[in-house]
């Protein structure tokens, strides 16, 4: 490979930076949609579940209900926003046709994925931290394992941005772009223990719930806050890694075969 002659080296950093900046610029152009609307909807959850209903709820595992739901709410936004950001980022160039430029550029698939997924994940991590900051206005919070908290934040944002990227490539219309988040991810997230401990479920449903991958994310994330978890933190981390690896494998397959990108 005589790639050195292009002055590019083994990694096309300029391309990664260009795509990343392009995607981040898109966010700041629409701050209402990108930042404000998720913050407002999360604040509504706090008002309804935290203040209004939460005041009549028992604390769970020694954590007041209002504080208990904070990690779940952050995860909920993280999942939906990661998917929305990444799926739109790759779907829209396909829709308008501007993807021709990416396909004709000297960019390896993993560089494109790193840039698009990196930008989508960055946005949702920033959003997660904003929601966390918003939450401190409503409920007293403590974070026992801040490093793990950040680790779960980054891993989950990355994994679901990858998942969104796959949806964006698979979708050939706006409906398909919406259908997976709406019909699969949102139910899984709501049933993944955002608002309750799975210990509160009848034994049968507790077992069913263990097939929901979101349970592991929320449980691990909540453990990093309060040191209590529905499933072991090692299991949570392991499951997150498995899902991440599956998404990377799927993206690699898509680009190697040109699936839905090239004829």
């Amino acid at each position: 490979m005589s790639q050195r002659s292009t002055g590019m080296g083994l990694i096309n950093w300029h391309a990664i930076v260009a795509i990343y900046r392009f995607e981040m610029a898109r966010t700041w152009r629409t701050p209402m949609q990108s930042i404000l609307s998720p913050v407002i909807s999360t604040s509504l959850y706090f008002v309804v579940f935290g203040a209004a209903i939460g005041s009549r709820m028992q604390s769970i595992d020694g954590v007041p209900y209002g504080a208990f739901i904070v990690p779940g709410l952050i995860m909920l936004s993280l999942l939906t926003q990661s998917i929305a950001n990444a799926s739109f980022a790759i779907y829209f160039p396909k829709f308008t046709g501007t993807i021709y430029e990416l396909l004709s550029a000297p960019v390896a698939w993993w560089e494109a994925v790193a840039a698009y997924v990196g930008a989508a994940a960055t946005k949702s991590i920033i959003l997660g931290l904003i929601i966390l900051a918003t939450a401190t206005l409503f409920v007293p919070l403590r974070i026992e394992h801040p490093v793990f908290m950040l680790l779960f934040l980054v891993l989950t944002a990355t994994t679901f941005s990858l998942f969104g990227f796959i949806i964006g490539i698979w979708a050939d219309g706006f409906e398909k772009l919406q259908v997976v988040p709406l019909l699969i991810v949102t139910p899984l997230a709501f049933l993944g223990g955002s608002f309750y401990s799975i210990e509160m479920l009848p034994p049968f449903w507790r077992v069913v719930t263990l097939f929901n991958p979101v349970v592991y994310l929320i449980s691990g994330f909540r453990w990093s806050f309060y040191g209590v978890a529905d499933v072991g933190v090692a299991v949570s981390l392991g499951m997150t890694m498995v899902f991440l690896a599956a998404c990377i494998g799927a993206v690699a397959w898509i680009f190697r075969t040109g699936y839905r990108l090239k004829n």
Partner: protein, 308 residues
């Protein structure tokens, strides 16, 4: 001259079973302007798309600037700029940011001076801070060209560059193409405006039904295949071609007031002298005469027709 693009044995069959390219061989010379002519659906865009990395070939190889387009795609693609047929641009980006983005995408370090030069050459400098969606169609076309030139490619593909473009932009574009060639850039354009190929190209390739049926120096092509017509405006109308002239390829036009003689410029003798003598002997006098050469369009139409 050496080849900057070598296409060998290239075939493409789409999933639908449609054979868009049938074992194509083609060499583009370094520094030339090459026009690829062909009717719609002939395979022009498929060929360009494969070379630029938008479509996977079914078989065959392509070397661009000495690099295999699939094994060594980074080096190959770095050398190539593509201006697509459709006006596919971002909407909310400014001209400056979208052109700078393209340069980064192709692995080049920032160079505001170069971007400025490209925008000035394309009369886009005043619009550099304008959002693309606020530009006219012609301006968007200029933006696409600026994006393709942002990373200083050695090979430039223009896919139907002047489709739906006004006269001013067309002239600007050809001025720019000539300047690029002076700088050593190789230019490949597809068109069905044949006068463009005729005006601009050094060589012409004709593609039809997925096969390259002809590649020729433009001047050679016109010389070899060009038929000329000699039109004689007669002083007196003729009702039929006289017996004495039956040996010549003649036809009557304009109610018998014009006599048209078709001849082959590549033939050793055009027969003009003999015809004029025969006319004088037959007592046919004429007021005026003119010759016209068949255009590339006529050549092209007859080539494609003879194949079908």
């Amino acid at each position: 001259m050496t080849a900057i693009i070598s296409v060998s044995n290239l075939s493409k069959t789409y999933a639908s079973g449609f054979k868009a390219l049938k074992s194509i061989d083609l060499e583009i010379r370094r520094g030339e302007i090459f026009a690829l002519l062909g009717p719609n659906g002939a395979g022009k865009t498929t060929l360009i798309s494969i070379i630029c990395g938008l479509v996977n070939p079914s078989s065959g190889t392509v070397l661009a600037d000495g690099h295999d387009i699939s094994r060594d795609y980074r080096a190959a693609r770095s050398a190539i700029g593509l201006v697509p047929q459709e006006l596919t641009t971002d909407a909310f980006e400014t001209v400056w940011s979208t052109v700078s983005f393209s340069r980064g995408l192709f692995g080049k370090a920032r160079n505001p001076a170069h971007i400025e030069q490209v925008l000035r050459d394309l009369s886009l400098w005043d619009k550099r801070d304008t959002e693309i969606r606020r530009l006219s169609g012609g301006m968007k076309r200029r933006v696409l060209i600026a994006k393709a030139l942002s990373h200083e490619p050695r090979i430039l593909f223009l896919d139907e560059p002047t489709a739906g473009v006004d006269v001013e932009l067309r002239q600007d574009m050809w001025r720019m193409v000539r300047k690029l060639r002076e700088d050593g850039v190789t230019i490949i354009l597809t068109t069905h405006y044949i006068e463009e190929a005729e005006e601009m190209a050094d060589r012409v390739g004709v593609i039809s039904k997925g096969e390259i049926i002809l590649v020729e120096e433009k001047s050679e092509l016109m010389r070899k295949l060009g038929r000329k017509q000699l039109t004689l405006a007669l002083q007196e109308q003729l009702s039929a071609i006289p017996e004495a002239l039956a040996a010549f390829d003649l036809s009557l036009a304009a109610n018998g007031s014009e006599l048209i003689y078709s001849y082959d410029t590549k033939a050793e003798r055009t027969g003009i002298t003999a015809l004029l003598q025969a006319l004088a002997e037959a007592g046919i006098r004429f007021r005026d005469l003119q010759t016209s050469q068949s255009s590339l369009e006529d050549i092209f139409v007859s080539l494609v027709r003879s194949r079908s």
